[in-house]
Amino acid sequence: MKSGPILTRRQLGRGAVALAALMSMPSGAFAQSGPVVIASEDDVSTLDPHLIRNNHPIGSVVWSVFDSLVRRNADGTHEPRLALSWEQVEPIRWRFKLRDGVTFTNGEKFDAAAVKYNFERMNISPFNGESQLWPQTGLTAIEIVDPLTIDLVTSAPTVNMLYWLEEGFIGAPAYLKDTSPDVVGAKPIGSGPYVVTEWKQGDRVVLKANPSHWNGEPAIKDVIFRDIPELSSRINELKAGSVDIAVGLSPDTADEANSDKSKAVAVAGLRKMHMGISCNGIEPLKDKRVRQALNYAVDVKTMVETLLGGQTKPIVSIVNPPNNNPDLKPFEYDPEKAKALLAEAGFTDFEIPIAYGRYPAAKEASETVAAYLEAIGLKPKIEAYEPGKFVEMIRAKAFNGIYYYGWASLINPSVELVILTSDAVDNSNGYNNPDYDALVKKASVTLDDGERQKLLTEAETMIWEDCPWIYLWYLPAIYGVSNRLDFPVRPDDYVEMYRAKLKG
């Protein structure tokens, strides 16, 4: 194992934050009014509604400024927004009734033609590199029935239409058409609960409540999304009372957000952290018994308690709750059983590369897993990757050992299971099981809810036993939240300011 520096930057930062706690803090009253400030690690690179690269912060700002036909609730259900109702009039034809009387903030009217223009824009370059509505739903045509009714026609029946429409944002069509792309990306015009009044790149996006929003003006009038890359600075801002929500705290710093002004709020997120096990790399990993042995060898419960301060839970399925099969249980920690399985498979002391990139606690997680694998007689070799290179390796399916990785925060069993079918592009470990493929494919065209659920559960159970991953934990989403704020956190990273309120 490689040895790190004696004191890491984070440890120094933690020492520094602890020192501040020792100094007496002024208990001055903090402002009850004034804008609500959200601090995030990443920069907002564009506000084009069809170039959303992450759920937060870009997705959070876009959700504030634009509306979609339907919106995804935190529990995976669908809330009508610009669509009032919908039905599948034929297996391949979805009909949406649109909300009447909605205008964009530049005065343009919202209607079926606006929807058609926006969706068609999502299918041209460069937007089709980012927007997934067309490829994921098999959308082939958009037909205007009347100004407030629109049909979406797909090549085959799909169960995922609503899911992908939730990321199909509707901008003011004439503005999108007639304005240069730079301006569209910098001064977005939507019909959402907020409007952008100022954007200083790399620093802040300033939002103001939209007084004429169809759902009423949101409770919080002024919102600022700030970019503060350094974690300790985000925590210090929170303590100084100049930031209300600090996004992306790490498990080991969460406690430092608990002060007289703020508290840490954690949800077990939906991003499933795991060690992907390459099924097209070194020979031993192609054997299911070896992959199971790796799962028995790692004590995930203890890692969650010690490494992550108990802020999350071990994953119990490849399908996210609430859609998972409740009968599946995490693998017990049993190194003897692991050794027995290895012996049975005939691979007892092979060298196994462990790669990691940018995820929180990636180095610690990889080193701990390495120690567990060493304990059953394997020879782990840890390799650190530059984040960009790591993503490239993932996309090229080029890792040949195991790698620390997390799956996006999806709430949709069909979408989640498709990713591990043999011809899926994001199947990064080359998992290939024809029986599994057949089940998932059949489910994706089965429109009967009960029947489909049965197929999905069968596939879910099959892959759990097959161990394409060393199952680890849900990446905890930890926020530092000001005491003046009533803010519902979501497990999928979106910060929804129009659902927040100031207390008192």
């Binding site: 520094a16 501040a20 564009t46 790399g202 620093d203 801002e237 592009v425």
Partner: protein, 304 residues
């Protein structure tokens, strides 16, 4: 050919070298299309994007085009931001310059004052205190110092904002942090220069003429002691611009350093080339300026 035009030609060659090296290194790190599109985007979408970004052309053609456009002041479009690199860089560069120049001013004022004091009171407790201060200044990592200043002056006492760039007071802590190392290095240079000069014959003559001590120190002696400081200070300014990267991250200062780091991890070639080229240009320009200044204040350089 005179001294300055030789320098100028050299500077242009350096910039050409930098642009070519950046271009090659950037291209060899990987495929930006793979990072830009969602993994399940279709093959056609990938190809369209490759064409859209001009990445389907041969490497030398891409470089030639880049250079030709750069000469006309066009550094291309950022892949990630969908904006012209020139406007992105110009926006951020002004912030980095502001930070670097304010730090530079702090470093100059502090180092000259402290250096002269240390030389005048050498081997007393004042000298010792200043030496300890410069040692600490050199030894303490900038990010740690930054965090400490934030804790004391922004979190506990709340004199200054923790981070950001929206008010003038936002500049104080990052500029102080950034200036620390330069202050320490320059201070030691001023001190040793002054000690040497104060023992020189012409200073004794000045004293013999009965000039005020303050005039002797701050005019006669300092002018001579500053000569090596000018060279050093020029390098320090370049250094300040490059080490602003870390400080910008801690203080959430929207400068060019953070832009460059982001461009590296997202393989945003035009933005990466633009930031590096512009930074190199600034560095070279500062060096040219120092050469010119040197040429002006030291007649000996003119004859070499």
């Amino acid at each position: 050919m005179n001294y300055l035009s030789k320098r100028l030609i050299r500077a242009i060659l350096v910039l050409l070298g930098v642009s070519f090296a950046t271009f090659l290194v950037a291209q060899s790190t990987g495929d930006p299309v793979a990072l830009l599109v969602k993994p399940n985007a279709t093959e056609e979408a990938r190809e369209a994007l490759t064409r859209h970004l001009g990445l389907d052309q041969p490497l030398l053609v891409q470089y030639g085009l880049f250079l030709w456009r750069a000469l006309q002041g066009d550094l291309g479009q950022s892949f990630v931001y969908n904006q012209s690199v020139v406007s992105l860089v110009a926006d951020r560069l002004s912030n980095t310059f502001l930070l670097a120049f304010v730090s530079f001013a702090i470093a100059l004022v502090l180092s000259v004052t402290l250096g002269v004091l240390a030389a005048l009171y050498r081997n007393t407790w004042i000298d010792a205190a200043i030496t300890v201060f410069t040692m600490i200044g050199l030894a303490v990592p900038a990010f740690w110092l930054g965090l400490m200043l934030i804790l004391i002056f922004a979190v506990t006492w709340q004199f200054f904002p923790v981070s950001g760039s929206d008010q003038a007071s936002s500049l104080v802590l990052p500029a102080l942090t950034l200036s620390m190392q330069s202050t320490a290095r320059l201070c030691r240079l001023v001190r040793s220069g002054m000690i040497e000069v104060l023992n020189a014959d012409f200073i004794r003559t000045a004293r013999a003429k009965g000039l005020f001590e303050s005039r002797i120190v701050w005019v006669h002696a300092l002018r001579h002691a500053l000569l090596p400081v000018v060279t050093m200070a020029g390098l320090e300014l370049g250094d300040l611009i490059s080490s602003a990267v870390v400080i910008e991250a801690i203080f959430a200062w929207p400068g060019i350093g953070r832009l460059a780091i982001g461009a590296v991890s997202s393989r945003d070639f035009p933005l990466l080339q633009g930031t590096v080229l512009v930074s190199a240009f600034c560095f070279v320009a500062i060096n040219l300026f120092v050469d010119w200044l040197y040429h002006r204040i030291d007649p000996r350089v003119r004859n070499t």
